[in-house]
């Protein structure tokens, strides 16, 4: 079942050279169409600056399309959790870890007491190893990343958007975060849109990969990832994984030529 549909989207950014002298640049998105299935883990794969973030921003309602529409097949409320690339800057440093986790709930109308109760339930459920009484700046980079992911999940979103969330992490941290994310996703089965320019990560995580070209972002390829779930890092060594990897690289090469 389709959950989200982008229909003929056009989005152009105006670069303000001067207040009255607006320079129009090439559209980032033009005639962009995409269907996202319910409970699907979809990866958007493409070069930097190709408009992947724009797609997420449109879906999150942070920006409006110039033309076209986005059809949402869920409740009227756009209940979306969005993890930015610079997720660190979205942590609220004046709040403890616990109060960071309650924040989305407070915004959606829970009282502070109810929100705390929900967070503690969630923490027990997921067997989370974060000291809730501490402040974010007292934690390691990986723990902060986890905090942000948990904060996004606690909100019980209908759609989960992640914009290259692991790009700043080292290899060890990155792989353990990928595993953690898969674990969470398996439990919740939330429709997920994941932006990446890391090929292995993309294949490891997703049900389907959308390959984008840049300026304007066009879909140049679509690959279904049929690897069995639950997945772990061993899957990277499998023949199927490498087959998919080759396909992605081939599509990529063709578009470059």
């Amino acid at each position: 079942m389709t959950n989200i549909e982008f229909v003929n989207i056009k989005k152009t950014y105006l670069h303000n050279m001067n207040v009255n002298d607006k320079k129009i640049v090439e559209p980032t998105l033009k005639n962009f169409n995409l269907k996202i299935n319910n409970q699907e883990f979809l990866c958007l794969f493409g070069p930097n600056g190709c408009g992947k973030t724009t797609i997420l921003n449109l879906l999150a309602g942070l920006i409006e399309p110039d033309e076209g529409s986005i059809l949402l097949n869920f409740n009227q409320s756009r209940k979306i959790s969005y993890i930015f690339q610079n997720y660190n800057d979205t942590i609220l440093p004046w709040r403890t870890n616990l109060d960071n986790l309650t924040f989305p709930l407070e915004i959606s109308g829970f009282s502070k007491k109810e929100a705390k109760k929900k967070v503690i339930e969630f923490v027990n459920n997921f067997d989370i190893d974060i000291n809730l009484g501490k402040y974010p700046y007292q934690m390691s980079g990986g723990q902060k990343q986890l905090l942000v992911i948990y904060r996004a999940m606690i909100y019980e979103p209908e759609v989960f958007l992640l914009d290259e969330p692991f790009s700043a992490l080292d290899y060890d941290m990155r792989t353990s975060m990928e595993m953690e994310l898969l674990k969470i996703w398996r439990k919740n089965k939330i429709t997920t849109l994941f932006v990446s320019h890391e090929i292995d990560e993309t294949i490891l995580l997703s049900d389907r990969i959308i390959i984008l070209s840049s300026n304007p972002a066009n879909i140049v390829g679509e690959i279904k990832v049929d690897l069995p779930r639950p997945r772990n890092l061993n899957v990277i060594d499998s023949v199927e994984f490498n087959e998919i990897r080759k396909q992605v690289i081939n599509i990529y090469k063709e578009t470059k030529l």
Partner: protein
């Protein structure tokens, strides 16, 4: 441990220099008494009840002026920071007024309000109000946009955004403004007491001590002012570290 030794050494060296200047008569010893004379005088005046009266008056003027400025300055700063159009309209005039050395305004205050206690408090309040407003304004304007965007993805209302995000974002800057202001407030009260005149207050005492050529007393009062300023700073640092504890820590 090493750091404290160096700090104490510097302190001792400065005192030795004072003795040196005095002992070899490089500076007239009438104008520059020996440090131990100053310390002894300081102890002496600390046993006089008049001194506490003066300290109290100066503190009261400082704190009243400063509090008044904070009560008005923080809300004004928040408003002109949040509403872009209002901010753009008012900030040039605030910048200009802030650029006028506050002491240059003393004659104006004398003409319009007189040389009363109230006049001194208003002088302090007016000058520090401009600083507090500016720092609050800057705090709001420099709010991290990532946190605002994040909150917007959750569908936060404007009021909630202001209370739960923007206010906290501006707190570190507000505290810089408050700390700068409390120091300036003390300076202004002392100057105002000297220029406008007053029955009490440390500024008045220092002025009178010089007038009566009681230089050891003058120096000891200056040292006392130093201690008060230092204490203000110390108290503010503690409050600052308690409230805006996240500043300077990587988050």
């Amino acid at each position: 441990m090493k750091k404290i030794y160096i700090q104490i050494s510097i302190f001792i060296i400065i005192i030795v220099i004072f003795y040196f200047l005095n002992f070899f008569n490089i500076v007239n010893s009438i104008f520059l008494p020996y440090p131990h004379t100053v310390v002894m005088t300081l102890f002496k005046i600390l046993f006089e009840s008049n001194t506490y009266n003066d300290v109290f008056s100066t503190l009261l003027r400082t704190i009243l002026g400063f509090s008044l400025a904070s009560l008005v300055g923080i809300p004004v700063g928040l408003i002109i920071g949040y509403f872009k159009k209002i901010g753009d309209a008012f900030i040039p005039i605030i910048d200009f007024l802030r650029s006028i050395p506050s002491t240059a305004l003393i004659p104006l205050f004398i003409i319009f309000i007189g040389i009363t206690n109230f006049s001194k408090i208003v002088l302090v309040a007016f000058s520090t109000f401009l600083i507090i407003t500016t720092y609050t304004f800057l705090g709001v304007r420099n709010t991290d946009q990532n946190r605002v965007l994040f909150a917007k993805t959750l569908g936060i209302s404007k009021i909630q955004l202001f209370i739960k995000i923007i206010f906290f974002e501006s707190l570190p800057s507000i505290f810089i403004g408050l700390r700068t202001s409390i120091s300036l407030a003390l300076v202004l009260v002392i100057v105002a007491e000297m220029i406008m005149g007053s029955n009490n207050g440390l500024g008045t005492r220092i002025y009178l001590a010089r007038y009566g050529t009681d230089y050891p007393k003058m120096y000891s009062l200056i040292v006392l002012c130093g201690f008060i300023g230092y204490l203000f700073n110390f108290i503010f640092k503690i409050i600052n570290d308690k409230i805006v504890h996240w500043v300077g820590k990587n988050s």
